[in-house]
């Protein structure tokens, strides 16, 4: 019956005690939880549709170029489709990353900074994306002819 | 050292302690001190049920329940207390239900009841459904429910605090205090496990509810922490212990392990069989067979094994057969205990019988109290401000053998009573001065133990104690075996003087506390054996092969064991020449036995047949 003390590996010292910092009640987390699920279901349709059209139909990635995009957005269905996808995915994703930050950022400061960055990125991307979809001009005036869509008057 | 002041201090947070706390904290500033987190007390291990003549499923009344209790206890029961127990049972079950306890229900939605050993209708005619239950975790639900209500009432707890001394204004183990002189309990000294600090609690009223002492035996259903602390502390202050020779051995412990399989298994139809497959209880108790009281069943089982009809490779256990029951029924009524069989023995109770053997289970004796929960210091005087309830106490509702389901009842009925009495007393009483330095004894004991450089191991001494108790003071006892046990205990006492602990730290030093607990175990084992040697008859849980019959003429008395200075008189109250006049000398003190009459109201002792 052998017994040996061996201080083999060093491991982290235990954490110091804590208490729950504050109560933060309200329906916010509830709505965000429901939203994650609702948007998830809708996103499945939107994203799979998107991927399918972009990557699977015809020649896949190789078919994508300016003309392809222009052609798609000429159709209001795809405009709405992509807009919805953009918004839902961004809100869903931002909310998801927010939870993750809440989980792992222990210090209030780190958490604040990370979240600010997150929301900033959210605003930039959503605003930019929306603008692009709405102000998109499928037939820029001075673009080389071979790049633009076949239905443009310039061709 | 820290000092606290409370009107009522309760030691122990099991069922009895918390039931008392719920009562006391309504009217008095109350603290509960417990060496375990409350929900970890051993009340939580109780499985089968809690008796009350609710008559929800069949005709029943509290008088029948009283009779069964008296008869089950082999007539050594104080009948006034048993009446209270049976009468107030109904209210205490309803109390628990109102506190939220999720009892199993009848189809009409009332509290369901089931059969249990020794519970009969019409004074022994046939088995009756009297045990109220919540699956096979009734104790768990009681403990949880009481704790929940303590949370609701914001009861103050000191968890993982070990009470190591009782402070009284007269130390009866050292001085001679004549009958009638007032003795007061004034406080307790506790040890905070987490920090190693000593705390003194001054109180107007103190309630002991520290539970049992099963760890004096090796094979036991009791927790590692059931080391008889409360009994030993009272005993060391010279307060008597009553009826300690009566220890209940539960018939169905998992063989070799002692883990309990509730009597509910038999209540739901389980059958005991020997190696021939014979339902041997038909021979020993033709009327109620497997549901006879525990002492009878345990003895019958031990007898089967002794006579070579045990099962297994060593023929050292019998079998509990549930295979004829529907698996769905087993799952609904006995989920936990069948799980034990699977986990610990790898046996599937649906299809295989389970190996069982008697296991040390319940201390019928303890700190004597009256029906108000007040602790007695002899046959009649109470210790002012000291109360006890639960397994630590002996109101003597269990006599020489407790009926299944009567203990959960006991802790509720008498826990409540003790709590109420203590709060009422605290209202009229004043705080009494503590000695100048109340902690000396405890501190020096701890320091000595901690500082002893090398010595015997605590675990070796404890194992030796448990082994001799199992071998010599178990289901079958003789004068010879008991004297052997006593000799061993004397020997072990010497070794105990010399044990040392390896952990010398202050923080969470469980090594040190195990050493202290071993001291309690030795005290309890000593009284148990001395009392057993003196009782030369067989009654209930105490079976002397050299005196196999009950002797009402000479022994229809409660044993009262007093620890006294060597110089004290060799007679205690209740001295009966030739019967209750045993004196046992130890180094530095002696144990003097006396007696206390049994209160009889309406039931004359009869032969106990089932």
């Amino acid at each position: 019956m052998a017994y040996g003390t061996s201080a083999v590996a060093k491991v982290d010292a235990p954490r110091s005690p804590y208490v729950r910092r504050r109560t933060t009640r309200g329906n916010y987390e509830l709505y965000s939880w429901v939203f994650m699920r609702a948007s998830g279901v809708v996103l499945i349709v939107l994203i799979f549709g998107h991927l399918f059209v972009n990557l699977m139909v015809g020649e896949g990635v190789h078919a994508i170029d300016f003309g392809f995009v222009a052609g798609k957005w000429a159709n209001p269905l795809w405009q709405v489709w992509d807009l919805l996808m953009l918004w839902l995915a961004m809100i869903h994703g931002t909310n998801g990353v927010r939870t993750i930050i809440n989980d792992y950022a222990q210090k209030d400061l780190t958490r604040g900074v990370l979240k600010s960055l997150l929301y900033l990125a959210f605003v930039i991307v959503v605003v930019l994306g929306t603008l692009v979809i709405f102000t998109f001009d499928p037939c820029p005036v001075n673009a080389p002819e071979h790049l633009i869509a076949s239905f443009c008057p310039a061709r | 050292m820290q000092t606290h002041q409370y009107d009522v201090v309760i030691v122990g947070a099991g069922g009895a302690g918390m039931r008392a706390a719920l009562e006391a904290s309504k009217d008095a500033r109350t603290a509960v001190i417990s060496k375990l987190y409350p929900t970890r007390s051993h009340t939580g291990a109780a499985q089968g049920g809690m008796a009350a003549a609710l008559a929800n499923v069949e005709e029943d009344n509290w008088e029948w329940h009283t009779f069964d209790t008296v008869k089950g206890g082999d007539y050594l029961v104080d009948q006034d207390a048993a009446e209270i127990l049976a009468k107030e049972a109904i209210e205490s079950v309803l109390d628990l239900e109102k506190m939220g306890l999720p009892f199993n229900r009848t189809p009409e939605g009332k509290i369901d009841q089931r059969r249990f050993g020794g519970h009969t209708r019409d004074h022994g005619q046939s088995a009756v459904r009297r045990a109220c239950y919540a699956a096979d975790r009734t104790g768990h639900m009681i403990l949880q429910t009481l704790y929940q209500n303590c949370v609701k009432q914001e009861v103050e707890f000191y968890n993982e605090f070990y009470v190591l001394d009782l402070i009284t204004d007269h130390d009866l183990a050292a001085e001679d205090v004549p009958e009638g002189v007032e003795v007061n309990a004034t406080g307790v000294v506790a040890y905070d496990l987490a920090t190693g600090e000593i705390h003194v609690f001054q109180a107007k009223a103190i309630i002991f509810a520290t539970g049992g002492a099963g760890k004096i035996f090796k094979t036991t259903s009791n927790a590692h922490t059931l080391t008889g602390d409360g009994m030993a502390l009272a005993y060391r202050r010279g307060l008597p212990l009553e009826d300690m020779e009566f220890f209940q051995f539960h018939p169905t412990g998992l063989a070799g392990l002692g883990i309990l399989l509730s009597e509910a298994a038999r209540g739901e139809g389980g059958i005991l069989r020997n190696s021939d497959g014979e339902r041997f209880m038909e021979r020993y108790a033709p009327t109620i067979k497997d549901l006879a009281p525990r002492d009878i069943v345990a003895r019958s089982m031990a007898n089967e094994v002794r006579e070579g009809r045990g099962a297994g490779p060593n023929k050292d256990y019998v079998l509990l057969d549930l295979t004829h029951l529907e698996p769905a029924h087993i799952d609904a009524k006995l989920p936990d205990i069948t799980e034990f069989a699977r986990t610990y023995l790898g046996i599937e109770p649906y299809t295989e019988p389970v190996p069982v053997y008697p296991t040390a289970h319940y201390a019928m004796g303890g700190v004597p109290t009256n029906v108000q929960g007040e602790v007695l210091r002899n046959g009649k005087d109470v210790v002012k401000g000291l109360y006890a309830a639960g397994e630590v106490a002996c109101v003597s509702v269990h006599g020489s053998n407790r009926l299944g389901t009567n203990s959960l009842l006991d802790i509720n009925v008498f826990g409540k009573r003790a709590g109420r009495s203590a709060a009422a007393y605290a209202k009229i009483a004043e705080f009494r001065d503590l000695p100048v330095d109340p902690t000396v004894a405890v501190v020096s004991q701890l320091d000595e133990m901690r500082n002893r450089p090398e010595g015997d191991r605590v675990s070796d001494v404890r194992r030796a104690l448990q082994e001799t108790m199992d071998a010599n003071a178990q289901v079958f006892r003789t004068g010879e075996s008991l004297n052997q046990a006593l000799a061993d205990i004397r020997e072990l006492r010497k070794r105990y003087e010399n044990v040392s602990v390896q952990d010398k730290g202050r923080l969470f030093n469980t090594d040190l506390l195990e050493a202290i607990e071993l001291g309690f175990l030795l005290d309890i084992a000593e009284v148990t054996v001395v009392a057993a040697i003196n009782r030369k008859e067989s009654r209930g849980g105490h079976y002397r092969e050299d005196f196999p019959d009950r002797d009402d003429k000479n022994y229809m008395l409660h044993t009262m064991a007093y620890r006294r200075p060597t110089a004290a008189a060799d007679q205690a109250e209740g001295h009966v020449k030739g019967y209750f006049d045993h004196v046992e000398e130890f180094d530095g003190y002696k144990v003097v036995l006396g007696s206390k009459p049994v209160t009889q109201t309406r039931y004359e002792p009869m032969e106990r047949k089932y």
Partner: protein
Amino acid sequence: MTATLEAPETKAGAIPSFEVTLRVRRYNPESEHGEESFWDEYTVTAHGTDRVLDALHKIKWEHDGSLTFRRSCAHGVCGSDAMRINGRNRLACKTLLKDVNPDKPITVEPIKGLPVVKDLVVDMEPFFASYREIMPFLITNGNEPTKERIQSPEDRARFDDTTKCILCAACTSSCPVFWTDGQYFGPAAIVNAHRFIFDSRDEGAQQRLEILNDKEGVWRCRTTFNCTEACPRGIEVTKAIQEVKRAMITRAF
């Protein structure tokens, strides 16, 4: 009726024994290791029906008295000895050595996410504080009935599963969300809230739902199922949490 194969043999000598090594993560601020945790390895002899708790006792009683852990009942009903055994939370008294592959060293660590006090002992206060916060007691209005409250067996069955909890903290301390910052109420508190929310006699469900509708409440649960796998009482913990979530949604919409 014959005895079965695995029937225990009480006679010494007849019992097959084997050697088993335990690798215990220790922490003792009073030792020379100070605030640093360290590993100790012990090899002891064990028998067929021995549990991890028996092995720990053997170490404590025969080799190293300073090894510290909590235990009481020794058969899985008091909830004292939840610990991390080979990376999984279990009760030491319910884990048979032969079921955790005794051929390799068995690692034993304190449960995660609660402050360690000494060796395998953690500070349970934060855990019980969360429990107390969810008002774990029956709340009723109006007059008490003279006899028991009536409850049908079906209504009683509704919350049976969650009445089994022994507050061992195996679940909460296995939850990766709880590990992150310890602010989450944790599955055990929710289980105990569930026990009352779905008790037909109780009238405090709204208040409890309100309490758990917290940033640190049920919504932090990410259905990782660790708790369900850890629960020694076999409670379907995640299911209970989901039922509480659904009750909140029904209430909000």
